[in-house]
Symmetry: C2
Subunit: 213 residues, 2 copies
DNA sequence: ATACTATTGTGAAATGATTCACAGCGTTAT
DNA sequence: ATAACGCTGTGAATCATTTCACAATAGTAT
C-alpha cells in the first residue's frame, strides 16, 4: 500500500466535500486553502496536507478549481459505486437517523431497517422498509449491505454486532453507549453521545475555573 | 497548570465510569487494568495511564477497588455540582436526545428546550419544558445553563451558537452538519453523523479491497 | 521581458498520543 | 521468614498528527 490515509483526514475530506458543494452551488469557481480552512475551522496547512491525499491539484494565485476538487473528493469516496446500509433499531435515535439520511446522500443509502417490535415491522418509514430482527442476516446478504448502523439498547448491541459480522458486514457505526468487540477487519465507529456530553461538560467547567484563577 | 488532560482521556474516563457502575451493581469489588481494558476495548497500559489523571489508586495483585475508583472518576467529573444543559431544536434528533438523557445522568440535566415551531413551544417533552426561540438568552442566564446542544438545521446553527456564546455558555455540542465558529474559550464538540457514516463507508470499502489483493 | 507577489506542495520539525518495559511493591505460597 | 509472582505506576521510546517554513511556480504589474 502506498500511503494509508488517516481516519481524521477522511473525516475532514467529507467536510470539505460538503462545503465545496455549497460553494459550487453559489457559483464560486476557485478557492484558496486559506478560505476553505476558515469555513472548515482548520488551518490552511492542514487543508493542503489533506488535499494531497486526493492528488491536490491547486494552482498558485488561483487556488483550487471548486468543481474539479469537489469531483475529485467525491471520486475518492467512491460515489460512483453505491454502499448499502442497514439500520438496526427504530427507536427514537433510529428514526431520527432515518429521517436525517432520507434522500440526502444518493451513494450512501439506508436500504433496510430492523426492529424487534412487531408494530414497527413491515411499515415503511421514510421510504425504508422495516424487517423483523430475525431476517437480519438474510437481508444483509440478499441486498449486499456492507455497513450497519446499530441503534438498539445496550443489552442487544453486542449480539446485533455479532450477527452483522457473521454475515460479512465491513463497517459498523454504533450508537449504543457500550464498547463493542468486533474483529480487526471490521471498521468500527463509536458515536457515544453520553460520553461526548460528559466531555463537553467537563471542559466547560474547566474553562469557567480557569477564568477564576 | 500542573498537567492538562486530553479530551481523549476524558472521553475514556467517562466510559470507564459507566463500565465500573455496571461492575459495582453486580457486586464486583476489585478489578485489574487488564479486565477494564478488555471491556473498554483499549490496552491495559492505556487504562493505567488514564487512571493516573484521577490519581490512580490501584494495589498490585488486587487491582483497583471498584467502588473507590468509580467514586474517584465521578468526583473528577464533578458530579457533586450539577451542570445545566439547554437543547435547541426539537426535531427528530432533538427529541431523540431528550428521550435519551431523560433521567439518566442526574448531574447532567437538560433543563430547557427551545424551538421556533409554535406547536412544540410550551409543551413538556420528557419532563422538559419547551420555550420559544426568542427566550433563549434570557432562560440561559436565569437557569444558569452552561452547556448547549444544537440540534437545529444547518441554516440556523451558527446564529444559535452566537446567541449561546453571547449569553455566556461554556460548552457546545453541535449536531448540525456544519463547522461552527466559536471563540476559543468555548469548548466545541462536533457530532457530525453524515461525516461519520461517510468515514465508515470509506474504510469498509478499503477493507474489502485489501482482501481482494 | 522582467520583477514582484501570493499561493501551492511538501520535506522537516514540533507536538501529541500511545505503547513499551521495567522498577517497586503488595500478596500469596512455601 | 523468605521467595516468587503479578500487577501498578511511570520514564522513555515509538508512533501518529499537525504545524512550520520554504522552494517552486503561476499569475500580475511594470
Amino acid at each position: 500500500m502506498p500511503n494509508r490515509i488517516s481516519d481524521k483526514t477522511v473525516a475532514r475530506l467529507s467536510i470539505y466535500s460538503r462545503l465545496l458543494g455549497g460553494f459550487r452551488q453559489q457559483g464560486k469557481e476557485t478557492i484558496h486553502s486559506h478560505d476553505l480552512a476558515l469555513v472548515a475551522g482548520v488551518t490552511p496547512a492542514q487543508v493542503r496536507r489533506d488535499l494531497m491525499s486526493v492528488g491536490g491539484m491547486g494552482s498558485p494565485s488561483k487556488g483550487y478549481d471548486v468543481t474539479e476538487l469537489s469531483e475529485s473528493i467525491e471520486a475518492f469516496f467512491g460515489s460512483q459505486q453505491r454502499v448499502n446500509v442497514a439500520l438496526i433499531g427504530l427507536g427514537n435515535i433510529g428514526r431520527a437517523i432515518l429521517a436525517y439520511f432520507h434522500g440526502r446522500r444518493p451513494h450512501l443509502a439506508i436500504v433496510a431497517a430492523f426492529d424487534i417490535d412487531s408494530h414497527r415491522v413491515d411499515c415503511v418509514h421514510n421510504g425504508c422498509r422495516c424487517y423483523p430482527m430475525h431476517a437480519l442476516g438474510e437481508i444483509i446478504e440478499q441486498q449486499k449491505i456492507s455497513v450497519g448502523i446499530i441503534a438498539v439498547p445496550v443489552s442487544a448491541a453486542q449480539e446485533v454486532a455479532d450477527t452483522l459480522v457473521a454475515h460479512g458486514i465491513e463497517g459498523i457505526m454504533n450508537f449504543a453507549p457500550v464498547p463493542l468487540r468486533v474483529p480487526p477487519n471490521v471498521y468500527l465507529e463509536q458515536v457515544d453521545i453520553t460520553t461526548s456530553l460528559e466531555t463537553v461538560a467537563y471542559f466547560a467547567r474547566q474553562h469557567t475555573q480557569e477564568e477564576r484563577r
